[in-house]
Amino acid sequence: MKNVKILTDLFLTFMQVGGLTFGGGYAMLPILQREVVEKRDWATDEELADYFAVGQCTPGIIAVNTATFVGQKQAGILGGIVATLGVVAPSLVIISILTGFINTFAELAVVKNAFAGIRVCVCVLIFNAVCKLWKGSVKSKLALAIFAVVTLGSLFFDLSPVLFVVVAAVLGIGLEQFAPAARKSTKEGEV
């Protein structure tokens, strides 16, 4: 029965984290620190930083990856799954309700105008996100070349993003194997 309690606890805690974070990613860190480190002692600040670092360089949503880590540590595989379901639960409920509304009223002139304005804002938000990512990822000539090839390749050719991800990963392994010198130039400032 102790197990049920910890699973419920995991679900409710991560539900709070999911429901209180706008934007995900690093926006979630302060709430996780309060709920997971300070209040419940499920992880230390260092562990949380590790989870984030791994979350950033593994596929998937960082918030989900962190929830899986913490849940797994507390209550094994089931814990990992339950914590993850907790973190996505608020989104499922809120977005389902909102989407229903938006799709119903999408044809109204006022809604169309509002979204036309919002789309401009989304372009700017994407631009800002790219600038922020740029600082952390494009730190060498090689990285700049990869960025340029991927941006242009994906813009002008009808290729799947999966292809670019796989090629970049293979390139990373290949360079590490055959030209490890390349990494010295990029080592500083590594996350």
């Binding site: 706008f22 960082i62 989104s91 389902s96 509002a114 631009f127 990373g172």
Partner: protein, 191 residues
């Protein structure tokens, strides 16, 4: 049922290959829009706006939105579960050798190449949505197609979110709301 499985599968692939969190799923969703016809590029922009203005990780919110628009609540569930499944599997595996994973030189090498690639993919998605937002093909000539109202709003937003120190730190939801208002007041929608 087939549709639900397809939703699950498409989002499973997105969760498996989208690295870095936040807007990392955007290029995959953009390709999904072209490939499946489940939603348009314009709707994708609306989804990003809604996801940024509601609690929860952006990736999860957009998955729920796409799933719900495609086939209601079951669709929302299928898409969201699809997106988180690869994360859960990968993290559960990595959790058992976290320290070794973090310091492995091949992992480091892979992510040195993956990060700029992921940034490039997002940049390309951003550029293609910007092209639709700021330009409509017009018979009168190149210049006539430029959406000046959108350009002016974007310039104001770039100033407000990147240059002016007093407004830089404000939450994106503020800018999304103001852009919606601007869209309504100056009727941004194209007829």
């Amino acid at each position: 049922m087939i549709l639900l499985l397809r939703l699950y599968w498409e989002f499973f692939k997105t969760g498996l290959f989208a690295v870095g969190g936040g807007l990392a799923t955007l290029p995959f969703l953009s390709q999904m829009a072209d490939k499946t016809g489940w939603f348009t590029q314009g709707q994708l922009m609306d989804m990003v706006a809604v996801s940024e203005s509601t609690p929860g990780p952006i990736g999860i919110n957009t998955a729920t939105y796409v799933g719900f628009t495609t086939s209601g609540v079951p669709g929302a569930l299928a898409a969201t579960l699809g997106l988180v499944s690869p994360s859960i599997l990968i993290i559960l595996v990595i959790a058992s050798f976290l320290k070794a994973f973090r310091s492995n030189r091949f992992v480091e090498g892979v992510f040195r190449c993956l990060r700029p690639a992921s940034t490039g993919l997002i940049a390309a998605s951003g550029l293609s949505v910007a092209a639709i937002t700021f330009y409509t093909a017009a018979p009168e000539g190149l210049l006539a197609g430029i959406q000046w109202k959108a350009v002016v709003l974007a310039a104001v937003l770039v100033l407000a979110t990147r240059v002016i120190p007093q407004t830089k730190k404000l939450h994106p939801v503020v800018w999304i709301a103001l852009s919606a208002l601007a869209g309504i007041v100056f009727s941004f929608a194209r007829v």
